[in-house]
């Protein structure tokens, strides 16, 4: 391991101060499942780990019918998918968090970490985008700002955080009556793998027509993509095989995948369409189920 220091922050201000003092090589430590490995393998230069897990706000998991769901940046995946309210109201989030790595990874890995690691294949990011989540960010000098999850990642390993900023929590709006969402991914085995492609869809169905749609795909571009054209193919019409197929075509058109050890361009483009179709069908079923 490279030479590094460790500090534990007890509140947001202390974390901001420690990050400012640590300079450019100070890194936030939440679940550590990515950043500790990157520090060890010298993929990131780390002079100081600022452990934020003792800060109450980053461990939150709280639902309010008006404000929606607040998930602390370091709240581990298992707490999210084991939560009764999340299971009832945000099944897409359960689907995404319950297959991040294996059980031992889910004991530590978090939504905040998945966002900040900014892998193009991050499993929970398309779910956060489709569910229209906002990311609450703290910075030096008591600064706070909010960025849409869809705008957070800017490239592989890159995001909107300025030096000294860190994610405090992720906020999900309360699900509207008549809405449904779903998340799926393709991997060659059944679990414990990195996505070849993944997708999440959200539908709001009112009076037999789709009145809103948010569709996101991951692992098929430098960042997860929010697909405006795919949503436009659905909105204002009753959901049908034809509109779903049109959304899938839009997803395949928007995908800009690469060839790598996990999959080819052709396979990933195909998968983007298939996963959008499947998540739309499941989201529609859930919307018709009359939740919440």
């Amino acid at each position: 391991m490279q030479n590094l220091k460790y500090a534990r922050a007890r509140d947001i201000d202390e974390a901001a101060r420690l990050l400012a003092e640590g300079g450019p090589t100070a890194r936030v430590l939440a679940g550590g499942t990515d950043v500790i490995v990157q520090a060890r393998e010298r993929k990131r230069q780390v002079g100081l780990f600022v452990d934020i897990k003792k800060i109450a706000a980053v461990q939150e998991l709280r639902y309010d019918a008006a404000a929606g769901l607040t998930v602390g940046a370091a709240t581990p995946c298992y707490r999210i998918y084991e939560d009764d309210v999340v299971q009832r109201l945000y099944p897409a989030l359960v689907e995404a968090t319950s297959v991040v790595g294996g059980t031992a990874i889910q004991g530590r890995a978090s939504l905040g970490g998945n966002l900040c690691n900014s892998s193009p294949a991050a499993d929970t990011v398309p779910a956060m985008i489709a569910l229209d989540a906002d990311v609450s960010i703290a910075g030096p000098g008591g600064g706070r700002r909010t960025v849409a999850a869809a705008d957070f990642c800017t490239g592989p390993g890159q995001n909107v955080l300025a030096q000294g900023e860190f994610v405090v929590s992720i906020l999900f709006p309360p699900p509207a009556a008549g809405s449904g969402a779903a998340w799926e991914r393709f991997i060659p085995r059944n679990e414990m793998d990195i996505a070849v492609a993944n997708a999440a869809s959200y539908l709001l169905i009112e009076g037999g027509s789709v009145s809103a749609a948010r569709i996101a795909i991951g692992a098929v571009a430098p960042t997860a993509l929010l697909l405006d054209d795919a949503a436009a193919a659905l909105v204002g019409k009753p959901l049908s095989d034809e509109t779903i197929a049109a959304a899938a075509v839009a997803a395949k058109t928007a995908a800009r995948p690469i060839d790598d050890m996990r999959g080819s361009i052709k396979q990933r483009r195909h998968l983007a369409g298939v996963l959008v179709e499947r998540t739309l069908c499941l989201a529609a079923e859930r919307a018709e189920g009359g939740r919440p």
Binding site: N3, G32, V37, E41, D51, K53, T103, A104, I105
Partner: protein, 160 residues
């Protein structure tokens, strides 16, 4: 140089104070500072589960935890899963030869115990899904899964 730090934690049920390097992973501290060599280093990057332990009761990979993080926490390694004699999982792994080279075995035992502590009657699918983060490069998975199911039955008092 990184500094030496004093860490106080409950290790396998005992209040323990130990010195570690500030940059030690928990895996390094357990093996090299505390002599708990049942915790194995496999991949050292979170993929293989050979270093699996429980941290405050939750299954984690100790290679992906900094030693400094466990201040005040409870850590359990394979050395602590059965204070007296063998845990039923260890007994069944031995009787049914659910191991080949054995490097992955401590991680499997800790992970399987964490499952059975939550779910006394897991299905084969649940066992396989829970243990997906534990890799056996001898590929002896069937015997491991069967042993976990039989240990669960034994612990429930069902005929094995």
């Amino acid at each position: 140089m990184s500094d030496r730090i004093v860490i106080t934690a409950t290790i396998n049920g005992e209040a323990t104070e130990f010195l570690a390097d500030e940059r030690d992973s928990l895996l390094e501290a357990l093996r090299e500072r505390l002599g708990l060599t049942g915790v194995k280093e496999g991949c050292n990057n979170g993929n293989c589960g050979a270093c699996a332990i429980t941290l405050d009761g939750r299954l984690v990979n100790s290679c992906c935890v900094m030693a400094a993080e466990v201040e005040g926490a409870a850590v359990m390694t394979v050395e602590g899963i059965a204070p007296d004699g063998l845990h039923p999982l260890q007994q069944v792994f031995l009787e049914d030869a659910a191991l080949q080279c054995g490097i992955c075995t401590p991680g499997f035992l800790v992970a399987a115990k964490a499952l059975l502590d939550r779910n006394a009657s897991p299905t084969e699918h649940e066992v396989r899904f829970w243990l997906a983060g534990n890799l056996c490069r001898c590929t002896g998975y069937d015997k491991i899964v069967t042993a976990v199911l039989r240990a669960a039955a034994t612990m429930r008092g069902a005929p094995a």
